[in-house]
């Protein structure tokens, strides 16, 4: 099943100038050679022009460019052919149909990358990064994915694994070589190695919050009393009218979510119903939704009209917000009030666009504090799977420390270090199970 010839469109279906079809597997060259005429295998990795024909009717389907890759020097590690066809709905479908008639089968979601993984061309983290790269909508997401594809995160985790093994080696030395010249390992040396390891694990785990935000988009909840201009701001940040804006307070009854890019970072903007005790049941439900979003928010953008003092109720509400807060003074075109340089307050006019650029920068700075400081995105933990495994490794390493303090013997304490190694290997995929693989691959779309 892993070596048969598969084919799929690697670019999105629909109107476009060009589209790319990939064919991979044992016999991919033969299958492609049945459809492409003339077709030559040698030399590989060189784009050549040819014609795609229907092998049965000999009907001309398209003028195409094709590139031949020979195993194992290809994306999948198998024989592979990439065919650049004209875009649109018809040409790619016809050429694909001809390839299926010639013996290829439709690739399953993520199957090309799965083959690359199984042929050792990429590790699990790289396979995930490929998915991330394709899904990336914000520049920082792309940088992080490319970094991971480059084995940035894998190398960091490899290095952590080596550290755990080195620490275990110290403990093992004590057990296995009790009569050596150099004597026992000083406890300080084990303590220092343990501290360093713990710090390194914590460091990489600290990137997890922003890393996962980077992949999924930071949840930015726009809050404020009714008619504070939340929906206008929402639309202005998106650049399109998604929310209905009226002068009637309480127009937005439900939360609306839309993706946006601010300062190069991905956000999920949530426009919420105003926070009042309303008698209207539908709106009350909306308010309930708002509270739930507020609890999950990575950043809360609180709207208050410029020139209006906040009342006690608003202040009380602001005190309950756990997430980092950005206060926006809206409608500055009306008050004539210009910039607000009070801390964490930004003056914005959704109407004129004034202050929007500053607000975007501020959002990026608050939600991605660490990442927005470094020019290049360092390897970060971008998935819950990574975070869970790394936390497990940290827990085990901490448990090792506790066991030592409690005076447990080295051999017993060391079992924690072995468990930490296993946890780290789970991230890189050295000892991955099919379940993990399946969940990784279920997020792929066809033809990657």
């Amino acid at each position: 099943m892993l070596s048969d010839v598969i084919a799929a469109l690697a670019t999105p279906a629909g109107r476009s100038a060009l589209a790319l079809i990939r064919v991979s597997g044992e016999g991919a060259h033969t299958v492609a050679g049945t459809v492409l005429s003339p077709f030559q295998r040698e030399p590989p990795r060189m784009a050549r022009r040819t014609r795609a024909i229907n092998p049965q009717t000999k009907e001309l389907l398209d003028e195409v460019l094709y590139t031949v890759f020979a195993a194992p020097a290809s994306y999948t590690g198998q024989d592979l052919v990439e065919i650049g066809v004209h875009g649109g709905l018809l040409a790619p479908a016809e050429v694909l149909g001809a390839l299926f008639a010639a013996g290829a089968r439709q690739a399953l979601p993520g199957e090309f990358t799965r083959r690359a993984l199984l042929n050792g061309k990429v590790d699990l983290l790289q396979a995930e990064a490929t998915a991330d790269l394709i899904d990336a909508s914000a520049p920082a997401q792309r940088r992080a994915a490319i970094n991971q594809l480059d084995r940035g995160l894998s190398q960091r985790i490899d290095a952590l694994r080596d550290r755990v093994l080195a620490l275990e080696a110290l403990v093992s030395y004590e057990i296995d070589f009790p009569e050596e010249d150099s004597g026992p390992v000083p406890p300080e040396r084990i303590g220092a190695a343990l501290d360093e390891l713990r710090a390194a694990l914590e460091l990489i785990l600290r990137t997890a919050g922003e890393g996962e935000r980077l992949r999924d988009g930071a949840l930015c909840v726009i809050a404020g009393i009714p008619n504070a201009g939340k929906s206008s701001l929402f639309n202005a940040l998106l650049g399109v009218d998604r929310a209905i804006v009226t002068e009637i307070a309480g127009t937005t009854r439900d939360a609306i979510e839309a993706p946006a890019t601010c300062g190069g970072f991905p956000f999920r903007l949530i426009d919420t119903a105003g926070l009042t005790q309303s008698g209207d049941q539908v709106e009350r439900l909306g308010v309930e939704v708002s509270r739930r979003y507020l609890a999950a928010a990575d950043v809360v953008l609180y709207c208050a009209e410029a020139g209006r003092e906040m009342d006690d109720e608003e202040r009380r509400f602001l005190e309950t917000v756990a997430a980092p807060l950005v206060i926006v003074r809206t409608k500055i075109d009306r008050t004539g009030e210009r910039r607000w340089d009070r801390q964490r307050e930004v003056g914005v006019s959704a109407l004129t666009g004034e202050g929007l650029a500053e607000l975007r920068e501020e959002l990026a700075r608050v939600a991605f504090t660490r990442l927005s400081c470094s020019a290049d995105v360092e390897p970060v933990v971008t998935r819950e799977r990574h975070r869970v495994a790394l936390s497990r490794a940290l827990e085990e390493v901490n448990a090792f420390g506790v066991a030592r303090e409690r005076g447990l013997e080295g051999a017993v304490a060391a079992t924690h270090l072995r468990a930490a190694v296993t946890a780290l290997e789970d991230v890189i995929g050295l000892v991955t199970t099919d379940d993990v693989l399946d969940s990784v691959f279920s997020t792929f779309c066809i033809g990657k």
Partner: protein, 647 residues
Amino acid sequence: MRLVRLGVFAARLGVYPPCILSFKSMSYDVIVIGAGHAGSEAATAAARLGGRVLLLTSNLETIGQMSCNPAIGGIAKGTVAREVDAFGGVMGRATDRATIQFRMLNRSKGPAVWAPRAQCDRALYRRAVRRELERHPSVEFFQGTAAALLLQGERVVGVRTTHGAEFHSGAVVLTAGTFLRGRIHVGTTTRVSGGRAGDPAAHDIAEQLEALGLTVERFKTGTPPRVDGRSVDFSRLERQDGESADYRFSHFERVPRPEQRPCWITWAGAEVKEIVRRNLHESALYGGEIAGRGPRYCPSVEDKIVKFPDAERHQVFLEPEGLDTAELYVNGLSTSLPAEVQLEFLHAVPGLEGARMTRAGYAIEYDYYPPQQLTPWLEVKALEFLFFAGQINGTTGYEEAAGQGVVAGINAVRRVRGDEPLVLGRDAGYIGVLIDDLVTKGVDEPYRLFTSRSEFRLMLRQDNALKRLGPLASELGMLLPDEERELERRLAAERDLVELARRTVVSVAQVNGYLESIGERAIPEPQRVAELARRPKVSLRTLLTAAECVPPELCDDVWRSAEIEIKYAGYLEREREAARRLAELAGFELPADLPYGTLRSLSTEARQKLERVRPESLAQAARIPGVSQSDLQNLVLEVVKLRRAVA
């Protein structure tokens, strides 16, 4: 025959190729060539299974000879000696009869890694091994050097000696130690053929095995000089007495200990370093005379000084050779320098200024067969009914050899009878770890066991060897009636003790004084002994004594094993869980005839390694260096595909 399962993965049964010959015409079931530590265990195990055994050795006077240091046991090795004993083996009993100093290593590090080690009187040890072998009526002895294996096709059917005597057998176990094309080096000019100082090497059989297509490589090892104790100034040495602990390696026999002797500690300092460095070009090791690789963990004095130039001094242990001799073994100064240089540096060691050297140290290089050529039951894949055990498989150490001897002896008999082979799991014992490492990963230096080699360090202890392996030995039919009773008694005693600890409650008054005295938190109300004994520093025996219900007549092993089971229950459960996961992988068997070379989904490296090792299961495949996770995934798919094609 059904075998007991200990834990979940203690013993597994594989499938032999079909038997071609009937064994009516054979005079022996098993011929064991060599009577060292592997050979004597192989012969004993085969005899205990009821096999007719011929023990063929070049010199009947050196049965059970300790060729290197006069000690048995140590880290992991002590546990192996006890595992061998659980199979009714020779090593533990012989050690008890020969112990002239005993120490429990790692005593400060907690009972899970305690390692018993005994200095032995070489002569007493030899005598005890011979005595043990002669206890089995079905073991016959013959002095002679094996010259050739008798073959029928690819099957081994007997042995011919250098004097032309032929012996026929169902199976042959070869335990040749360092004798195959052994070459002894002292300095760069003295190079003599020999399997051990004073004994000739064996060439014919080595040449035959190579001609038959077995891959052969060379290893080296060394031994230190020995000195006349009458010429040693003991007043300048630190005396190291053994422990008075009444410890025995054997589970089944309790012999009185011989008279005890001390060891002596001194050190080699700057002057020794200077002498060695100045004469380095005359060392066989450094003069380029020896090509084979030596053990990193047992370095020669040349190695120590070249590789660790910053170390100021190196410890030297003077170990007694025996009760009826003053000769001392100079442990720590193994060397292949010329004899006169050895004497010179010995005189630079405090206490040895006037020492007379009785024997010079030497290096020996010898043939070994990379052990991936063996099945996990130690049969040579290319030559049926031929088994290898001991140093010819690339290991070092008496205990490692003995452990392999047991497994080879058992399987030689089972093979001849057409029974399924016995494969010891990694969680069953260090012997299982050792053999799995050998046949799966091979060796790139002489292989020695450490606790770090095992992923089940807490489960594989010296105190529970009988509990782990005794039931298997019993099921195999290796134990004598009184040994069976002892096994039953001990298993029941430990069960009862754990149960007693669970049932017994200690009062505040009974234990708080004790807890205070060891710096432990007092208890506010009565507590169960099993609960309280979970604290690291608290002793189970003291608690039960305080509660006034100590069971009488329990041996130390039972106390220790029960206490560890209580104290580290959670940790042990984790290891057992890991063992279960391993068993799952091991349950996925790989066909013996899998055409790895044609499996294109595997990496080239994996294809070559798998072709060479031919693992029995996915678990074994996973432990081969160079076989990646993706190779394993593909392997599963290929096997599933093949199974479908067959069905």
